[in-house]
């Protein structure tokens, strides 16, 4: 859905890899997770807990809460407020916070 506006030679940022639902996605050091996902065409980002409707980032500034994903085990993190790091593990939400098995 989004793409880089820089050519390879113009882009001095380190190229890193993150995992999204187990798949490797390429990203650039310093960018927000939300834009990395938009650049990789990860759409929709999630399905809502209310009706299962597809959503993707809307405001990119932390007020709309539509860009929520699971980051390194923490659920419902605003991906627009988080910077990518190499090896980041992302899971895309399908509805409400999942609970897991009893201990």
């Amino acid at each position: 859905m989004f793409k880089s506006m820089l050519t390879a030679s113009e882009d001095q940022r380190a190229d890193i890899a993150i995992l999204v639902d187990g798949k490797t996605i390429r990203a650039r050091a310093g960018e927000s997770l939300a834009t990395a996902l938009l650049n990789a065409g990860v759409v929709p980002l999630r399905h809502t807990p209310v009706s299962g409707s597809p959503r993707a980032p809307f405001c990119l500034m932390g007020v709309c809460f539509d860009c929520l994903v699971e980051v390194d085990g923490r659920q419902n993190v605003q991906s627009c407020m988080v910077q990518v790091h190499a090896g980041m593990q992302v899971r895309l939400p399908d509805g409400a916070r999942h609970v897991g098995d009893p201990a």
């Binding site: 609970v99 009893p102 201990a103």
Partner: protein
């Protein structure tokens, strides 16, 4: 403008007022409800939605009986509403749990329930050790030393309940005047004249169900309503997958998947704000009950003002100075909604007073009341 074709005026459009108004309308009365505006305190909005009998009324078995009767009646009360307007109240009556982190507290509580059972008779409950508790509530935390299961306890959505009552009341021809404050009530020639929002309303019967507002309204018709606010702070999480079927006084999961967490009892006057110290304490306790809540995001908190009499028990009283004026106050408006819509509404219409409530009069607080408002 004077309205003269009203049978009963109800002051207060919360759960208590609307349950009674619904009951009266269903029986064919022409009812008008006066309700304040968007900013009113509204215990109806702040509560935990419990339909609960466990642990109530230790010093007063009548209250336990009244609560028990309501709980047993709740299912048909809900079904009747849902059949009429399709709104699912999300009523769950599969039982409720009271959790304990301390053995002594658990033992003291069990003794309390045994006393209640001795006084009331039909009073089922079961003490669960951690193993039995885990069967019932698999995500319970390791620090919980035990729980008491009350098979008749449950919960409902307070939002859906109030919306359903309002909607049904409209369909039955009831009139709801919102955004008005009751300024003055006079009793002349067997009629009550209520001034509110620049208009006068007249009816033969009057029900004061205005929560904390009853304190000033009561004396206008010879009734004493020594109610004061008691704050309970509540936290609410984001929606979660279902993991908790049984409600408790401190944690419950709603039909939407949201987890509601409480509770406190503070005498802070008319202050509905929250305090970090109390919220942290509530959160700290909830984590012990359900460790999986650690990462759950708290989306909102609030302070709800309970309407408390000095002993915590209701007042259901008809004015002697101004017959036809009724005072109704309690802090369990959700649990008691079924009785309020049923036997209490019948009593207001002239039927016999339910036995269980005959002692819930203001005179137990040892005051003299005069019609001129003390």
């Amino acid at each position: 403008m004077i309205s003269t074709d009203i049978d009963t005026l109800v002051i207060g459009g919360g759960v208590v007022g609307m349950s009674i108004a619904y009951g009266l309308s269903k029986a064919g009365e022409r009812v008008l409800v006066l309700d304040e505006g968007d900013d009113a305190f509204r215990a109806a909005r702040g509560n935990f939605g419990l339909v609960w009998v466990q642990g109530k009324g230790e010093e007063r078995p009548d209250y336990a009986r009244w609560s028990m009767a309501s709980v047993l009646r709740w299912s048909s009360f809900a079904q009747e509403l849902t059949a009429a307007n399709g709104i699912d109240l999300e009523l769950q009556q599969i039982g409720g749990l009271q959790f304990f982190l301390d053995e002594d507290e658990l033992r003291a509580y069990v003794r309390k329930l045994e006393n209640l059972r001795a006084a009331v008779g039909d009073y089922p409950f079961e003490v669960l050790d951690p193993v039995a508790l885990k069967q019932l509530s698999p995500h319970i935390g390791p620090e919980v030393v035990g729980a008491v299961y009350g098979p008749r306890d449950g919960h409902v959505s307070p939002l859906r309940l109030l919306r359903s009552l309002v909607q049904r009341f409209h369909t039955l021809g009831g009139i709801l005047r919102n955004g008005v404050r009751c300024e003055q009530i006079d009793h002349r020639a067997d009629r009550f004249h209520v001034q509110a929002g620049g208009q006068e309303y007249v009816a033969g019967k009057l029900v004061l169900a205005a929560g904390l507002g009853n304190r000033t309204l009561g004396p206008m018709v010879g009734l004493h309503a020594p109610v004061a606010p008691n704050r309970g702070q509540v936290l609410v999480t984001e929606r979660m997958q279902p993991f908790l079927r049984h409600p408790s006084g401190h944690v419950r999961q709603t039909g939407e998947g949201v987890v509601q967490i409480g509770d406190s009892k503070e005498d802070v006057g008319f202050d509905d704000r929250t305090s970090i110290d109390q919220l942290a304490h509530i959160a700290h306790r909830a984590r012990k009950y359900f460790p999986l809540l650690d990462g759950a995001n708290v989306v909102r908190t609030w302070g709800a003002l309970r309407v408390m009499t000095p002993d915590g028990f209701p007042i259901y009283e008809e004015s002697r100075q101004c017959p036809g004026a009724f005072l109704v106050t309690c802090h369990s408006g959700i649990t008691l909604a079924a009785m309020h819509a049923g036997p209490l509404a019948d009593w207001i219409r002239g039927a016999a007073e339910p036995a269980a409530i005959s002692t819930f009069k203001a005179e137990r607080f040892h005051v003299q009341v005069h019609a001129d408002g003390q």
